[in-house]
Amino acid sequence: MNYTLLAEQFFNGFQLGIILFLVAAGLTLIFGIMDLVNLAHGTLYMFGAFFAATFVELTDSLVLGMILALPAMLIAGLVLELSVLRTLYERNHLDQVLATFGLIIFFNEFFLIAWGPEGTGINLPPYLSGIITLPGGITVPDYRVVIIISGLLVAVLLYLLVSKTRIGMLIRAGASNREMVGALGINIKLLFTLVFGLGAVLAGFAGMIITPITQAESGMGEGMLILAFVVIVIGGIGSIKGAFIAAILTGLIDTMGRSFIDVALLSFMDSVAAETAGPAISSMLIYILMAVILAIKPSGLFPPKGA
């Protein structure tokens, strides 16, 4: 067993988990509190990527560009909520799926027309494009460390917001029992708008920090959306804590599967069969995990209390 490789893959899986968490946190809040199936959540991730790339190009500074992209994300989220999504709360889930699927198609085309099929990207400044060598020969790119640290920082801030503030209390209450919160005289419409804005900023932030690695392209949000749904189903819909643990778990399993399944299969299969089965099994792993967890705990690992 190569422990250096194992450690590096652990790190890579953790980093994927952090990105997944940022996308899933907003999705789980919006689904859990507002009971809105928002397929366009991946679109917000794409918004973040294009906003950041554009602002970084305009300001010629990675940090400044990303800081400017955050309020832009908030505005985009609020506009989307006030103009389109607000009209969907009273509708059933199928209508919501149709309408938000329409948003995906609309914005994918929009970004394709506005930025072209080649998309855009962010070049890392020299101070972030090095690599760090840890004891044991473990090498990790600087920027991926930055992703992990900033993602964890956001997770802590989100935890403090949800568990220590009045807004957070309302969010938790909303996740447990929406009608009761409304009945107690809380302006539920305003709460929904704020939650959606927060979700948009989180997803956008994920899109921003991943862009220097994956580049920004139209349609980049869909793959992420599917993974994020897996995460919130595993974690329990409406639970931030569940989203965090499930995201890290999903990131680790996906990465570890892609790294070691083919090697494991080779130990008892011939190479042709292992080559075919390896990619197929590794891409199924997280769905198998989801099925197992749903069989044992149908409402996810950490369902909000009272839900």
Partner: protein
């Protein structure tokens, strides 16, 4: 009585309107490409090349008007098939061409062939069609998937690469590319990774490459995959220790992206291809400047060159049949003879209707401030036919 009249009226008009599409002074060519999604960086270059070829033909062949009808398959096999059906039934096209991705060709070509149309792949080089599934009405104006990586295998041997890590997306063409390099590379292949088509983050694979310490890495990441992969490879610092050799991953379609991102470490990177914009033949010399003028000043990729040849191939068939496209045997014979100025110089087809052609080594150079692929030395493979041509019983 009135009711009957009302009912009869539309019927009467239907009878009265002559069938416009039956008028046969126009020859229609249906072109099925990816024109949306990030993969359209390839499709748009090919569309432009078809337009240039159309212009060079004067919009006419054998006295008949030539009409191009473009359709977008959205990078989806099912849509590709639907659009092929639409081109046949609604537009009543006489020829079908385009087809960039092998899995989309695989879904679409049978529909066209069954309808008795001549189908010309302008890019997708699905191996099956060169061998077992070859068809008298199927032509390929590009190559068979495994040929270009076979040339790369030879190049790797020449350069003394002893161990190789292989990466490609997990679909028909990806697997056939891998087969190609395996066939000619004499060293050891330390690992083969077929990555999901949706993959945008290669961190896990890059860590494995670092651990495996091969002499070189072979990749097939066409279109928008290329820039993302090479960016991450450089971020991991591996570009300084383990060189990447590619097929179809750094090409004329995505070079403007690499240049815009200023990825100068890629200058000098080698790949193999049947064509380069600096090949010395009349068609290439005429095509390259015309294309640059027509399409954003970009140097055409080999994709564009194939599209240019594909339309000229169809035109050669029409000329041979003296414009009577209903005489499909005459059209086919004309296409087999392929009497036209090809971007390859002279183009020659095998009995499976795939070109028998040279493959060159090319490297990324900065020429007059524009990054492009320049031919290096003599052909790596000369007059090369797909290895499975023998399986074709035509």
């Amino acid at each position: 009585m009135l009711k009957k009249l009302i009912l009869a009226a539309p019927l009467a008009t239907m009878l009265a309107v002559p069938n416009v599409q039956a008028a046969d002074d126009t020859i229609r060519v249906g072109i099925n490409l990816v024109l949306t999604t990030p993969a359209s960086i390839i499709g748009k270059q090919m569309k432009a090349a078809f337009e240039v070829a159309h212009k060079h033909l004067g919009g006419k062949v054998a006295g008949k008007k030539l009409e191009l009808i473009f359709e977008d398959n959205q990078f989806k096999p099912a849509i590709g098939k639907q659009k092929t059906e639409k081109l046949i039934k609604k537009d009543k096209v006489h020829f079908l061409t385009g087809y960039i991705f092998s899995h989309i060709l695989g879904a679409s070509a049978p529909v066209g062939l069954k309808a008795g149309k001549i189908v010309v792949s302008a890019n997708a080089g699905h191996s099956l069609y060169a061998g077992k599934k070859c068809h008298k009405n199927f032509f390929n104006a590009a190559w068979e998937n495994s040929q270009t990586p076979m040339a790369m295998g030879h190049l790797l041997n020449e350069r003394g690469v002893k161990s190789l890590y292989v990466l490609a997306p997990n679909y028909a063409a990806g697997k056939q590319m891998v087969t190609g390099v395996e066939r000619t590379f004499k060293g050891k292949i330390v690992a083969k990774a077929l990555t999901p088509m949706s993959l945008r983050d290669w961190s896990a694979d890059i860590a494995k490459i670092r651990a495996a310490k091969p002499d070189g890495v072979f990749v097939f990441y066409p279109g928008a995959w290329g820039p993302a992969f090479f960016t991450q490879y450089a971020q991991a610092g591996l570009n300084k220790t383990i060189p990447v050799y590619n097929v179809f991953s750094i090409d004329g379609a995505n070079l403007p992206i690499f240049q815009k991102r200023n990825m100068t470490h890629l200058l000098g990177t080698m790949n193999t291809n049947f064509w380069a914009p600096d090949l010395d033949n009349p068609a290439t010399k005429k095509f390259v400047p015309a294309f640059k003028k027509h399409y954003k000043g970009q140097v055409p990729a080999h994709y564009a060159a194939q599209a240019y040849d594909a339309l000229n191939l169809i035109a050669a068939g029409i000329r041979a049949a003296k414009g009577d496209v209903s005489n499909i045997d005459a059209v086919r014979r004309g296409m087999e003879e392929a009497d036209f100025d090809s971007v390859r110089g002279k183009i020659k087809f095998g009995k499976n209707h795939f070109p028998i052609q040279n493959f060159y080594a090319r490297k990324v150079v900065n020429k007059d401030g524009q990054w492009q692929l320049s031919r290096v030395g003599d052909p790596v493979l000369k007059d090369h036919a797909p290895v499975n041509s023998g399986n074709c019983k035509l």
